[in-house]
Symmetry: C2
Subunit: 544 residues, 2 copies
């Protein structure tokens, strides 16, 4: 039998096949909108023509040092122009971009540099103290290049600085796409609450598709003015460093993310869009009057990470922000799910709208699958909004795998789906809702208790600024919910008042038995460190 005519003499060639890479977006933006402002940083303005030239200089300077395919270039930096440029210039040299979490300690940075076998380290002077200590501990001997912002200060660690380094590069250096879209583009270490962090490898194909999907799902209009409240070291800023070129938007850098600087930037630059964890939303909602700057335009906000409490979502909307709730993990390039809004919800009350929107939703437009299923059989749970299961992801915006960790990769992909470790339910309308991380769920008297659900009720109390609930060993029930709470400035409430409030608003068995007041321990990405709280809960004096 002869081959199908549709498969004969119809092969790929240079005319009809180009590997997908977000590196394609920048030259187009520079060609079509050369004079548009690509980057704002303090008094600095960089046009798209200039940004492209600077990225080519960076790629060229790296290549001149012998950096290329398969090499790792690590970056330790705040949300500053060099960080945006690294997202293009580093992969354009063929190397893999490894952004480091600036809140990590020296030991964790040293671990990453060694595990990634970093050949080059671009490091923001602001973090010199940590990086110096890390370099002292690490076996890796990367070429160290300081990113120098004189007003920031900090020790110089390398033999050259970033501006001098790229000045030696060629602004007309050929812009080279990967020869295969499956090539690694970046490496992101998970926060690793237990054991060593895992190195999540992204490929060009997935970065391209999720950068596009961000535009589709928000949707991001042409030429947004985008504020960098989300750290770019976190899942490559959810792929937004690349999405922005696709829509020729303006990156507004922000070194210090706090209510005052956010409001100031919104008013001064007429910010149209920003992303941020619920902690950023909380800072905005609870900002003091003197931190606020009035603005008269619509600001769209994308939020994810810890599930946002409905009360915070509602307050954001009331303060003039339009919130889109997305969900994902480091392993899914940041968000790969969105609580897609339905016009049928327009008529609902603000409370009901916030409740609907607090759900994690449906797969991103270019992601292929999202399900809640039994973690062993992968059989989907019934869509009843009740039955707990693990959340699974599948498609082109799932990582290439964990670097040098085939066992973890194999386990994560068992059965052809990515095992997220998140627990959730599937609602009747096909929207998923997270209930907990698998390791955070409380099992009390044989019943599952979602700590997220208990926290949501606590957030509705007017005195509560932040709340985190964990399991506490309980002689009678096995485990019982224990709440750690931070109060708003000047507010006061007693533990028993909060427990009564909870009993009035949820099933009794879910009500915290214990309430502890005080600041919450956070991971370097701003997530509450529940394993620390669990330890604290275990050490508490016995129930009366």
């Amino acid at each position: 039998m002869s081959a199908s005519p549709y498969e004969t003499d119809l092969d790929r060639c240079a005319a009809n096949y180009v590997p997908l890479s977000p590196l394609s977006f920048l030259p187009r933006a520079a060609a079509v909108y050369p004079d548009r402002i690509a980057v704002v940083h303090g008094a600095m303005r960089i046009t798209y023509r200039e940004l492209f030239a600077r990225c080519r200089r960076l790629a060229s300077a790296l290549a001149a040092r012998g950096i290329g395919l398969g090499d790792t270039v690590s970056v330790m930096a705040a949300n500053i122009p060099a960080m945006i440029e690294a997202h293009y210039g580093v992969p354009a040299s063929g190397a893999v971009l490894n952004t480091l979490n600036v809140r990590l300690d020296a030991a964790a940075i040293a671990f990453a540099l060694d595990h990634a076998e970093a050949k080059v380290l671009l490091t923001d002077r602001a973090f010199s103290a940590t990086v110096k200590a890390a370099l002292g501990q690490a076996k890796a001997r990367p070429l160290v290049i300081d990113i120098d912002e004189p007003e920031v200060g900090g020790e110089f660690l390398g033999t050259t600085d970033y501006e001098r380094f790229i000045a030696g590069g060629d602004p007309d250096h050929p812009w080279t796409l990967p020869d295969d879209e499956w090539r690694a583009i970046s490496l992101n270490y998970t926060s690793g609450t237990t054991g060593n962090p895992k190195g999540v490898v992204y490929h060009h194909r997935g970065a391209y598709l999720n950068a596009v999907a961000n535009v589709l799902s928000w949707p991001l209009p042409p030429h947004p003015i985008y504020l960098w409240t989300l750290p770019m070291f976190h899942c490559n800023g959810w792929c937004f460093p690349w999405s922005l070129s696709l829509v020729a938007g303006t990156h507004v850098c922000l070194r210090r993310v706090e209510a005052r600087t956010i409001f100031r930037a919104i008013a001064d630059h007429r910010i149209t869009h920003f992303c941020g964890a619920p902690i950023v939303l909380g800072a905005i909602v609870n900002a003091r009057p003197e931190e606020r700057v009035p603005f008269d335009h619509q600001v769209s906000v994308m939020t994810a990470a810890a599930p946002p409490p409905p009360s915070v979502l509602k307050a954001m909307e009331q303060q003039g922000f339009r919130v889109t709730h997305v969900y994902g993990l480091t392993e899914t390039y940041g968000p790969d799910a969105v609580c897609a809004w339905k016009s049928a919800w327009d008529g609902e009350s603000a409370d009901e709208q916030a409740r609907l929107k607090a759900r994690q939703g449906v797969a991103y437009p270019l992601q292929e699958g999202l399900m809640v299923a039994d973690p062993h059989t992968l059989q989907p749970v019934p869509p009843d909004g009740q039955t707990l299961g693990e959340v699974f992801h599948r498609g082109n915006v799932v990582m290439k795998g964990y670097l040098k960790n085939p066992q973890a990769t194999t386990e994560a992909f068992a059965g052809g789906w990515f095992h997220s470790g998140d627990l959730g339910v599937m609602h009747t309308d096909g929207y998923i809702e997270l209930k907990d991380r698998a390791k955070d769920i409380i099992i009390s008297g044989g019943e599952n208790i979602s700590t997220i659900e208990v926290e949501s009720v606590l957030y509705r109390h007017p005195a509560v600024l932040e709340a985190a609930v964990v399991a506490r060993p309980d002689e009678t029930w096995g485990e019982s919910p224990c709440a750690f709470v931070t109060l708003k400035d000047g507010a006061s409430v007693t533990a028993s008042e909060l427990i009564v409030f909870c009993r009035d608003n949820m099933a009794h068995f879910k009500t915290p038995k214990t309430v502890v007041f005080g600041p919450l321990p956070k991971t370097s990405t701003g997530k509450v460190q529940k394993f620390v709280l669990r330890d604290q809960a275990r050490e508490l004096p016995r129930h009366d």
Copy 2:
């Protein structure tokens, strides 16, 4: 030397790699927006849940007849629901969709059925006369299935009708993506003004990417109400049958495309978007008062094919339409270039805006390259707006090739670029502007004359409805421009008046020496048949 860690134990698997296919968009739309109206056709309404079920029935019914990978299913139909369903159900069975141009004659249809080796033919009763004759001439013996709309009439040719056929299919049939994104999804025959038509093969990857790029480049908002003025048989409706699922929009079918039905649909259904060749724009701009229906919302129009005369663009804008000008060919899945608007143009006069917008522009967001270059050396012409060259396209939205025509495929892709046969210039701002098809250019006294440029001036005369300019043999100059002109209802102008008008508005050597009044011969896709006019020009009595 050991392999790079980035290439070790990080292979593709079912969790992180799924072939790109626009077939993915429909199940997502059906899951997220099951009750949203997907299709409007007369009094009929089809929700996304129903549309997906009907497409699965179609795939299932085809599979039950043994249709699968590499088989061709041809469709001869107007812009009706079965045509939309064929765009999903046929490729979901593994087969290749071959939409036939309903304006072709029996011999051309027979040629296509034979060349495509059609196994199934879905045929709209409205075209029974042609199809019956074609089946009589063709060697192919496809299973013939009539698409029956009783009010339309026409002979039954097959043994079953479409509704009965899909009723026998399973609405829960597994929805199968291709095993390889390079698989053929559709087959589109070029109009073939000389020689036999060529069969342009599209692959799933390109259809996916251009369906996405349509959304990005327009941009298409969530839930547009889209009117089908562009024939779906033309480049698969520029991939919009697939784009609409991505944004969960509503397809409004339209069997008869004329000013009256367009205005009626815009007002009745609050159409937000439609695509159409300049001939459709011309029909709208020149509609008689009794054909118009007032509407009070913004309608966005995408236009391509023959370059739109600036005067028509300006009139459209003045009548409340917002026009986006795109450019492409059958070989590029319809549009793969767009005249991307720049805010710097907002302050220009309406005339200047129309002139800027009449240019073909820049590559689509997900296309990789567009250039004007020497057809032999592929050396780009200087971006001076003057130097004529051939337009070349490159990237993932270029066809797989020509079916069973390796020589034409090889020639089309020589040098790693798709040779379009279009002639144009590159402006200083990087925007291309078409000047002519290679075969249409007039060479007069050694100077190139762009027939499009001469036509643009003629369109500015208030009496002119349509104009086409071709070369006429000229003893002195070699060739001279000859204009064929259709006047608006009730308007009058003499040939010498038009020639004077042209002399006042362009270089003298470009001015038509001859003007002929009368209707213009059109191809089945509505393009003026310049080869017919060239023959007529050759037969004209000698110049006085």
